[in-house]
């Protein structure tokens, strides 16, 4: 082979790689674009995504408030825990602890509210999206296009993260302003690492589900619906996940099963990092939870890649790639 031919082959390979990277980056941006722009063009979303979800969170906050009021009434009546208050100072200490615990529990609800937003987005705008695309006839167009299917899913994920961040940030801001939650961040880098790895793991899971939903067909919608309250429960969205360890014998089993969904570990770590010094129960130290989240993120992304390839092959072989309402 002459030197010229070798140089040409190298040029072709390089430009081929450049083409592929460029194509996939454009695909990611192109798929994220309608979600980012859609969020701005649908003014009703600001109301539905920002204001109304706060009400659901407020309900859980008021539950803790009701419990707290009952507890304060008991302390003021002279009962400190299971025994009578020993002194006025004892009574005051109990009142202060109760107020601190209330702040931490309300903070837990607020953090859970932000995670709920991401989880719902993963379910309804990631996992069920390819199925939806099939239903409306876009899937075949995607399959014919030359980009990687993973780029398509990555674009959906990035757009979805942006769309949902609006709601998540507003929930956090409202938590501070309306509910008066005091967050204390001692380790911002670990906090950011936990947050982003949790999101990557969550959306990786969504990418994996996206292909599985193609296989499950019409059950997909019902499955998404089924993965709401049970996951809110098993991930400890509105209470510290360490509470599972207090409920014997089934609590620890739920905690182990729940930790397969990255939201649980992420939320538990975020709670410990933003609400330190409370007596709320936790599962594991935050850095251990970060390590587990990293493992989950890698596993879900790999599984997403394989399940997508497998499902595409299966759907083509069985001729179901374009069949709707099944």
């Amino acid at each position: 082979m002459s030197a010229v031919t070798v140089r040409r082959a190298a040029v072709v390979r390089r430009s081929d790689l450049r083409y592929k990277v460029g194509l996939n980056v454009r695909s990611i941006l192109g798929r994220a674009y309608p979600r980012v722009i859609g969020a701005n063009r649908e003014p009703s979303w600001i109301f539905f995504e920002v204001f109304l979800p706060l009400l659901g969170i407020a309900a859980y906050v008021f539950i803790y408030q009701a419990f707290y009021n009952a507890q304060v009434a008991l302390i003021q009546a002279g009962q400190c825990g299971s025994a009578a208050c020993a002194s006025a100072a004892d009574q005051l200490a109990y009142l202060q602890t109760a107020a601190r615990n209330l702040n931490a529990l309300v903070g837990t609800v607020v953090l859970g509210g932000t995670m709920v937003a991401f989880w719902l987005n993963v379910l309804w705008s990631m996992a069920s999206q390819l199925y939806w695309e099939k239903e409306i006839g876009n899937l075949q167009i995607y399959m014919m296009a030359p980009m990687s299917r993973m780029a398509l899913l990555a674009g959906m994920a990035i757009g979805g993260m942006f769309m949902t961040s609006v709601r998540a940030i507003s929930t956090l801001v409202a938590g501070v302003l309306v509910f008066g939650v005091v967050f204390q961040v001692a380790n911002p880098f670990l906090l950011l690492a936990v947050f982003f790895v949790t999101l990557i793991a969550l959306y990786g899971m969504g990418m994996m589900f996206a292909s599985l939903y193609l296989l499950w067909g019409r059950e997909a919608w019902n499955l998404s619906s089924l993965l709401e309250e049970p996951i809110f429960f098993s991930s400890g969205m509105y209470f510290p996940a360490g509470g599972f360890l207090m409920v014997q014998p089934w609590g620890p089993a739920v905690a182990v099963a729940g930790s397969l969904v990255p939201a649980m570990l992420g939320l538990d770590a975020l709670r410990q990092l933003t609400l330190p010094g409370t007596t709320l129960p936790s599962l594991l130290p935050p850095d251990t939870e970060l390590e587990l989240l990293l493992v989950l993120a890698v596993v879900f992304l790999i599984l997403a890649r394989f399940s997508l390839a497998y499902l595409e092959k299966l759907a083509k072989r069985e001729g179901k790639l374009t069949s709707r309402h099944q």
Partner: protein, 286 residues
């Protein structure tokens, strides 16, 4: 009238088939009860954690919350079952144009479609209450004398829910397909203002007035009064303890009638605006 009845019957059958025929009956039963049970368990764990951390138990408040939450199953399910009809027919099955131009009342059609949700959620409510009694020791009881009032409250409450659902349906005529957030968010309004999980008196005064303007507040309060022991309810400041059962039922009837009229108005307006903007059979794929 017979056209209305026929429309209702066929729509209810269609709704049932669409809800349940995607899987085996036993799986559908599990699916129908697992969500409400999980929602109840969220409250159980909240209570467990609070009791453990605060070294205090408030069982009356827990029973109050548990029963309210059980009846709230109707709210999420029936509301969603009602207002997602337009979305699913328009975006998913793309059959809305055929149903819409057929000589039936579209309003009655939606009510029929939602009826199957009422049946399924009634089953889930019973399971949740039964679980509360058997596993959590929630003290439920209904005297014979209270049964007519309980049934009247239940019928009015469900009718009111359908009316609210159709009001939202009118709004979804104009919305893109992402109504899932609406399904989550609107019940949140009732969760907060209707004293479902905590006594109304926990809210600031001006928010208590908002709650008193919503019929569901009276439905939940009356249901709890009839099902929980009076001595337990006496210790909880619900904000409505000054009224007797029949007065509460009267408030429920009156406010339900208002919401029914409102639902017709909003539905017609949404329909008119959607037709004007050419959105009746739009599809939104982003």
């Amino acid at each position: 009238m017979s056209t209305f009845w026929r429309t209702f019957k066929v729509a209810a059958w269609l709704g049932w088939e669409m809800d349940s025929n995607w899987t085996e009956p036993w799986l559908f039963v599990i699916y129908s009860i697992i969500k409400p049970i999980a929602a109840a368990f969220i409250l159980v764990l909240m209570y467990v954690v609070f009791a453990a951390v605060g070294h205090v138990t408030v069982p009356a408040l827990f029973d109050f919350m548990y029963v309210g939450n059980a009846f709230f199953i109707f709210v999420g399910s029936v509301l969603f079952g009602t207002f997602q009809v337009i979305q699913s027919d328009r975006e998913w099955y793309q059959t809305i144009r055929y149903v819409y131009i057929s000589p039936i009342s579209y309003y009655v059609y939606i009510m029929g479609r939602a009826f199957s949700k009422i049946l399924v959620s009634a089953f889930a409510v019973l399971i949740t209450l039964g679980f509360g009694v058997a596993a959590l020791g929630v003290p439920l009881g209904l005297s014979l004398a209270d049964i007519p009032v309980f049934i009247a409250a239940l019928v009015l409450g469900l009718f009111c829910l359908l009316a609210i659902g159709i009001t939202l349906g009118g709004v979804t005529f104009l919305m893109a397909r992402h109504t899932q957030t609406l399904a989550e968010a609107v019940p949140g309004i009732f969760y907060v203002f209707c004293g479902v999980l905590y006594p109304l008196s926990i809210l600031p005064f001006w928010l208590q007035d908002v709650g008193k303007a919503i019929p569901l507040t009276y439905w939940f309060d009356l249901s709890r009064r009839l099902l929980l022991p009076p001595e337990l309810m006496a210790g909880i400041p619900t904000g409505l303890s000054g009224f007797d059962d029949l007065t509460i039922l009267g408030f429920l009837a009156l406010s339900s009638a208002v919401f029914f009229v409102l639902s017709i108005g909003v539905f017609r307006l949404g329909e008119y605006l959607a037709r004007k903007a050419g959105k009746i059979d739009m599809t939104t794929s982003y």
